[in-house]
Symmetry: C2
Subunit: 133 residues, 2 copies
Amino acid sequence: MAAKPRNTEQKRAVCRAFEEADGPLSAQLVWERAKAFAPSLGIATVYRCIKELIAQDEVQLVESPIGPMYERSPRHHHHFFCSSCQRAFCIAGCVPGWKSLAPQGFKVLSHELSLSGLCADCAQATTPEKNAP
Amino acid sequence: MAAKPRNTEQKRAVCRAFEEADGPLSAQLVWERAKAFAPSLGIATVYRCIKELIAQDEVQLVESPIGPMYERSPRHHHHFFCSSCQRAFCIAGCVPGWKSLAPQGFKVLSHELSLSGLCADCAQATTPEKNAP
DNA sequence: TCCAAACCGATAATGGGTTATCACTATCAC
DNA sequence: GTGATAGTGATAACCCATTATCGGTTTGGA
């Protein structure tokens, strides 16, 4: 009745793309990176694999100003989105006190903190006067 | 050269929908509520007005797990999204220490904290044993 | 009042992410 | 090795928020 999942090159490629990522990836980015390990990989297969990985709780959806992204289910952390280069970064640590912000009677099950601004690269590029020769 | 904007019933209706809202609204919700003040209002006009209000910094886009929403530009605050009834709520207050979470060199321009879970209504509805007769 | 043009409503079109379809291929228990 | 079938790639289709189009309407300065 239940289909037996198979171990295919494509699934391994998508998993590897997630494993080697240092932050959330868009489906397109997953595709681009996974193609390094399975050149013929199609975008539909990428979405199929992501769906499967999410069902297995190995990958999570991350809402972002840049669009939907995906990353390996990690220990709790937050994100920084660079408004210049449109990249996403993971941030270690958390803020205290978030649970007590909800009004009386509300049941807080999760929270997400997202910082936006300029990553180190872009911040330096846009204010080069400091280190310019 | 620059067109002179006019004061129309439709614009007033959309503004009023935002003024009377107690939290972020989807474009559809803005439409539904504004139609109370301008029954013939079309969805295209709602988007036109929202665009204009955003350009004037009177309304802001709010990314949410529920989808894109809009609200009057307010003093800084955060949001709670109910995963059951799909409503959005504003939360007063803020969390300390968010600025220091960004890695060295990153320039944090804004932050958004979103809590998810059950609002008071839904929390009570799903755990009625406490107050059940 | 008059009229140029800003604005409107209805709806078709767009755009981007995601999913369904289908003929072909690869996996793996036997 | 063989064969049933899960998986795959290409692509059409879908979904939904948003925008463009266009003929008719409303606004507001003269």
